[in-house]
Subunit: 344 residues, 2 copies
Amino acid sequence: MAGIEDVAKLAGVSTATVSRALSGKDHVSAKAQAKVMAAAAELGYTASHSAYTLATGRNRNIGVVMPYLDRWFFSAILQETDSKLIEHGYDLTLYNLSGGDARRSKIFNEFLPRKRVDAVLTVAVRPSSAELEALNQLKKPIIGVGGTIPGAKTLALDDIKAGRLATEHLISLGHVKIANIGESPFSDREFNQPNLRRLGYLEALESAGIEARKIWQVQTDYTVMDAYRVAKQLLGDPHNRPTAVFCNSDEMAFGTIMAAKDLGLRVPLDISVIGIDNHDMSEFYGLTTIDQRVREQGSIAAQMLLDLLDDKEFETRGNVEETIEWPPRLLIRSSTAHVSSSSR
Amino acid sequence: MAGIEDVAKLAGVSTATVSRALSGKDHVSAKAQAKVMAAAAELGYTASHSAYTLATGRNRNIGVVMPYLDRWFFSAILQETDSKLIEHGYDLTLYNLSGGDARRSKIFNEFLPRKRVDAVLTVAVRPSSAELEALNQLKKPIIGVGGTIPGAKTLALDDIKAGRLATEHLISLGHVKIANIGESPFSDREFNQPNLRRLGYLEALESAGIEARKIWQVQTDYTVMDAYRVAKQLLGDPHNRPTAVFCNSDEMAFGTIMAAKDLGLRVPLDISVIGIDNHDMSEFYGLTTIDQRVREQGSIAAQMLLDLLDDKEFETRGNVEETIEWPPRLLIRSSTAHVSSSSR
DNA sequence: CTGAAAGCGCTTACAG
DNA sequence: CTGAAAGCGCTTACAG
């Protein structure tokens, strides 16, 4: 591996000139520039990153912390932030929290403090107070997406509003018997603890003067399969069947649609279904949903981080708490319809 | 941020002793050890990683290169390799190839050569010769999983055998009219160029003396939706309907099952369906499949990389080509049945 | 515009 | 067992 010294020798200049010519930050004579470029190309020289970092204090590397990798929301965010960061010359190192408390604490107390990242992006992470402490110890820019980090800038869907909007849509279609399938609090410790989407659902019902029935509020895991099971139970009951179901995620809505089909119920004729996300497969299912525009969230969050990185005043100011509420958008497809044609 | 000097001062020893005490590699008196530990804890000291790297040449960081992030196979591999690597003290930095040729070349020619990773894991990557050249320039251990890297060690499913096994299963159930839904060559430039799974399918048909019909060999994208469209076309034709479909992936099989249902065909009574993967949702669909044990592949590939990293002789030997064929396993569920009850 | 040199913060032979 | 010092490979004030 060729070093800067080799390039300097071959080009017949000092290492300082090589550094300047290659970084393009300082003025270098055209002749020197050309010689350096030629020499660097000939030797296939790339600056050692650790030396660069040690000398400058910059890592050109962002740490991304997420609780899961294998769920749609997370991989979509990852995809988008990664491409934005690469575009701007940053590496992305991934810290996956799943795998138990030991791993989790290792990441916060050992990996992150290695001073290897210039900034941290957290995705739907709800840090404990000890973890928050470790995060702040870093003195690095922090951006949260999909979940608030106390003391830092956050971009997140307004979950209450999303839940209300979904429910209001069903109410506007004449539905009164409206169920909600939401995540169980324990299976998803990462997400906003109080189930905000359900809160929005309850608010909408109350505003419309509709009684909220406990048996229509069910909880399960955030997956197609679990929602399927729960929905089958919910929709199979001939005496207490709702005419509409609001699911806290599109994947849950897929499971609900499948359950309805398997029970011989027609969507939306017999049962209306709405989700939240606008998952890649939602169009395929004809699912009415609250569009979260996840990819845009990822891209914007990455941009917020890049801006913070360029901010000269960050050093003195540090992170400041600010929550940017991401507005939910109703996206109507064919899984919801007026109740008159929908209740049997 | 406290440096090693601060710890040394507080502990009343030299920086050399601090370094030794903290790394645990060299002998240090119990007294000095204790003083250093106390001082480090008090200051919240963590060694600067770039200084460590510059001094030792070790990054404790692995580069993972993958063409997609948002597909099941890739996120499952990522999840598993990440946890294995974290466990062994390695960071994982992610290089996502999707996003066009410019990004791709940037990753191979700019990011990877930064000497920031100790080794590279490629997931279903088929490097061009220029990319291969760049990879070899690194002089770092390389492991391929899910796709062969010429000149390096690779762990990959034996695709031909998998295709043959799936098809043989259908044949053993008396099926003769067997279709195959595979990926289109262009949409998936990453994967083994000749469609090896289909090759296995053709081999099995030939061995059984069954004629391979062109109209039953269709191609599409690797997604549920695309397979759904194609399968609907295939199964909707009343005159040329196959009695069984072998899909190159489980997600394609899901789409095929949905299409069959929507056409009023019963699985497996009217139509048998088999996939390859053993996707997280396959059990839910009752899908008979070729189990790829993806998570095990990820974990074993990561272990192979760790072994190579510990191998003292790598320096002199370099990467050596070796392909470890991962055996396919038939996993029978309820989506396949004997033809006698299956053809109408 | 350019070079000599200090410095980034560690690790590790080398002496003692 | 421990310390002084060299060295890892860059960048960047400081002179000129």
